[in-house]
């Protein structure tokens, strides 16, 4: 499968769709929402990393993923890694 081009909008869509599968309600998922608020834990973030790698070819390091706190942080991490 060809990898998608990284844009903030595309990554945000990917992150949102992934998080919706994990359980949070779609309207709870905002860029400012924290993973704690969304009940998204380290296992969810491991799955999210796998989806990101799958779609964009960007491998996220566990130590970096461990530092992010919000949905927006996750989007920024992917976008910055691509830059």
């Amino acid at each position: 499968m060809p990898e998608k081009t990284i844009t903030p909008e595309a990554v945000e869509t990917t992150v949102r769709e992934a998080l919706e599968q994990f359980g949070p309600e779609p309207d709870e998922i905002t860029l400012d929402a924290t993973f704690e608020q969304l009940d998204v834990d380290s296992l969810d973030l491991a799955e999210l990393s796998q989806i990101i790698e799958d779609e964009y070819g960007v491998k996220l390091k566990g130590e970096d993923v461990g530092k992010i706190k919000t949905v927006g942080d996750a989007v920024d991490l992917v976008v910055n890694r691509a830059g």
Binding site: Q21, F22, G23, D39, L43, A46, E47, Q50, E53, D54
Partner: protein
């Protein structure tokens, strides 16, 4: 010795969701077997679990969580307030295979898409201790917590081990039981390769035409408590776990000992630990798998252990109605036995018609009937035997 009582029960089985549903439908002669399988077809995880809870649990763990909610609610453990210190409540749940559906799915992913696509959830979902882990997290249980793995004896071993934990003084209560969800392509093919599964797809334990077991799926969870403490807190007591026997055939990896020596030893030990005699037994819930070897060896074991009493009491198999739930069987059948004792009833062995020479116990063919107990509290044995030559027998007594 500390007495151990049952204060809550729950089940998910091919006969529906709920312990009473299982018992009442079996008693009425209904079967949960369709197309040669006992699928828990009335179970919909979305009715009971959140999206997150459901996707964090293999089907075998989902069954245990839902059976657990029922049992803990009945015992008065639900709603965020536990009646004992969390550290004094244990959780011990058996399974034969664990999350084999998760394992098979992720093996497909590995083969088709490569190692990078295998789910981070694969290990936590397939591990055989996933059910007790999920129950402990859901209810804040912090005492001894682990799985029991002894093939088709696991559910009974879990209950027996749990009773011993209370008697040893390390727990005031234990959430226990067994769970299995092994109706998967690999598991079905593997049991079929052993000639263990019924080619006809009919579960008719003890009948001369029996040709193997029908696989089922489900779970049962029980709450056990120290009897004195349960009475102090005013809990409703459903039954007493009077005794527990366990043994190993040390004979063959899959076949039972032809004379049922190990099974007989476990039955005797269950009675000895209960302080009871063969004459005290009013009903036997047999392992009764519908395999040619088990039902013959088990009949011999019951006769060897109970002597003349064996021919005087009803012996029936829950598997005639739901198939063989493997590691869940011992727990599901203990739950059914507890309700049968409560009602002083012997549920039937469905499908039993043709007598085989030597298999001459009272198998309660096709219709339930009252136990003849003359006003005393009835006592039952619940047998569970597993590949590996493992035998586990519970001795249960009705409450008041």
């Amino acid at each position: 010795m500390t007495q151990v009582v049952v204060t809550g029960i729950g089940a998910v089985t091919p006969l529906g969701v709920g312990a009473r549903t299982l018992y009442e439908r079996w008693l009425a002669g209904q079967s949960g077997i369709e197309g040669g399988e006992g699928i828990a077809s009335e179970f919909d995880p979305k009715e009971h679990l959140s999206v997150k809870e459901a996707r964090r649990a293999d089907r075998f763990t989902q069954f245990a969580l839902v059976a657990g909610d029922e049992a803990l609610a009945e015992a008065g453990f639900a709603g965020g307030e536990l009646p004992y210190e969390a550290e004094r409540i244990a959780c011990v749940v058996g399974t034969g295979i664990g999350g084999i559906g998760t394992l098979e799915h992720n093996h497909d992913v590995l083969r088709d898409s490569g190692p990078n696509k295998v789910s981070p959830l694969a290990v936590p979902l397939m591990m055989s201790n996933a059910a007790p882990a999920a129950l402990a997290m859901r209810h804040g249980i912090k005492g001894h917590t682990y799985g029991i793995v002894s093939a088709c004896a696991a559910g009974a071993h879990a209950i027996g081990t749990s009773a011993a934990l209370i008697q040893s003084g390390v727990a005031d209560a234990v959430v226990t039981g067994g769970s299995e969800a092994a109706l998967t392509p690999l598991s079905k093919a593997a049991f079929a390769a052993l000639d263990a599964l019924s080619p006809s797809g009919i579960s008719r334990p003890f009948d001369a035409r029996r040709d193997g077991f029908v696989m089922g799926e489900g779970a049962a969870v029980l709450v056990l408590e120290d009897a004195d403490r349960a009475r102090e807190r005013g809990a409703t007591i459903l039954a007493t776990v009077k005794g527990y026997g366990a043994s190993s055939d040390a004979h063959h990896l899959t076949a039972p000992h032809a004379e049922g020596l190990g099974a007989a030893q476990a039955i005797r030990q269950a009675l000895e630990t209960a302080g009871l005699e063969a004459e005290d037994v009013d009903y036997v819930n047999a392992h009764g798998t519908s395999t040619p070897l088990n039902d013959r060896a088990e009949t011999l074991a019951i006769k060897a252990a109970l002597g003349d009493r064996a021919g005087q009491i009803p012996v029936s198999s829950t598997k005639s109605a739901i198939g063989h739930l493997l590691g869940a069987a011992g727990a599901v059948e203990a739950v059914a036995t507890i309700l049968a004792l409560r009602d002083r009833m012997a549920p039937p062995t469905l499908g039993y018609e043709e007598v085989e020479e030597g298999l001459d116990l009272d198998y309660v063919p096709n219709s339930a009937r009252p136990l003849d107990v003359n006003g005393k509290r009835p006592v039952a044995l619940s047998n569970a035997f597993g590949f590996g030559g493992h035998n586990a027998v519970l001795c249960l007594e009705a409450a008041e």
